[in-house]
């Protein structure tokens, strides 16, 4: 295991999980603000328990899948997932689509919950449950994608858990969404890393012998970053002229 594989895997898991945890926290806080901590906490706890069951159930199956097939499937999913993030981050950086605003998401979430004031608390808990489950599944996917097949599941999990603990701690102390985190820059960085991993693993799954082995990931990330920067500049220029 080299630093070229270890460092990107852990940092991708940490940064990707940071983004997902912030999004989940925003919804849980919105529920807590409108309906109280009980439904928000119960929903979040149920979401975490469901996630734990999914990981415990599916985790051992990973060892039974042939390595090349695992690398190919995860590589393809990583390319789809990473380039989706990268595309959105490029368009946001270029000003084509608006930046994701946690404060606005929080306001929209609380307004929606207030509209249903007459309904039972379990609906609010359900919103909290769904947010934790869906964002948590993204975290689980990122951890498996960057960790499985390379013996990096534990370090990647540690990175993800560290990010979730950091966000949960900050949210608990501040009691408001983490609006100042540069989410688009994080998404761009994670999109670059996941896309680079995706190319590497898809290639490995297809039997490609990459020059420089694991070190190739760093080169791929640099190329994706370059293309992302070029794309953002190319798309932004006409908008500035029009303005």
């Amino acid at each position: 295991m080299t630093w070229a594989t270890f460092a990107p895997a852990v940092s991708a898991a940490f940064l990707g999980s940071l983004v997902e945890a912030i999004e989940a926290l925003t919804i849980v806080l919105a529920v807590a603000t409108v309906r109280g901590w009980r439904p928000a906490g119960l929903g979040a706890a149920a979401g975490l328990a469901s996630l734990a069951l999914i990981v415990a159930g599916l985790g051992p199956l990973l060892d039974r899948v042939p390595l090349l097939l695992l690398q190919l499937v995860i590589g393809v999913l990583l390319l789809l997932f990473g380039m989706r993030w990268l595309r959105k981050a490029i368009l946001r950086a270029a000003g084509v689509i608006p930046l994701h605003d946690e404060a606005a998401a929080f306001a929209a979430g609380t307004a929606e919950l207030r509209e249903h004031r007459s309904r039972l608390d379990w609906l609010a808990g359900l919103a909290s449950f769904k947010a934790v489950l869906l964002e948590g599944l993204e975290v689980v996917f990122i951890v498996i994608a960057v960790g499985a097949g390379r013996g990096l599941l534990l370090p990647a999990s540690a990175g993800a858990l560290g990010a979730c603990a950091l966000v949960a701690g900050a949210g608990f102390v501040l009691h408001r969404p983490l609006a100042r985190v540069p989410e688009n820059a994080l998404k761009l960085a994670v999109g670059v890393m996941l896309s680079a991993f995706g190319v590497f693993w898809t290639g490995e799954g297809l039997g490609v012998a990459w020059p420089g082995a694991d070190l190739a990931i760093v080169g791929f990330a640099a190329l994706f970053l370059l293309v992302a920067a070029l794309g953002a500049v190319a798309v932004r220029r006409p908008l500035e002229v029009a303005a």
């Binding site: 393809v76 999913l77 390319l79 789809l80 997932f81 380039m83 989706r84 990268l86 595309r87 959105k88 490029i90 368009l91 270029a94 084509v96 359900l126 769904k130 489950l133 869906l134 599944l137 993204e138 996917f141 896309s195 995706g198 190319v199 898809t202 290639g203 297809l206 039997g207 490609v208 012998a209 990459w210 020059p211 791929f220 190329l223 994706f224 293309v227 992302a228 070029l230 794309g231 953002a232 190319a234 798309v235 006409p238």
Partner: protein
């Protein structure tokens, strides 16, 4: 049931946001797989890397039009 459908839709949405980009990525991977079966070595890797980068750039530039 509606919630399960919503979760399934969001799970698919994790990987597919823009259909054209997803299709382009799959096409690049299929071409790379064909090249890998015909030409041993790193040629398929070059196709995969260059194709992915091109698909991303072309998709972003297409938004401009």
């Amino acid at each position: 049931m509606r919630m399960l459908a919503g979760i399934a839709r969001e799970l698919i949405g994790l990987f597919v946001d823009d259909g054209m980009l997803a299709l382009a990525i799959i096409a690049v991977i299929v071409i790379a797989a064909i090249v890998a079966s015909l030409i041993p070595g790193a040629t398929a890797g070059v196709v995969l890397l260059a194709g992915s980068l091109f698909a991303l750039l072309a998709n972003v530039l297409a938004v401009q039009r």
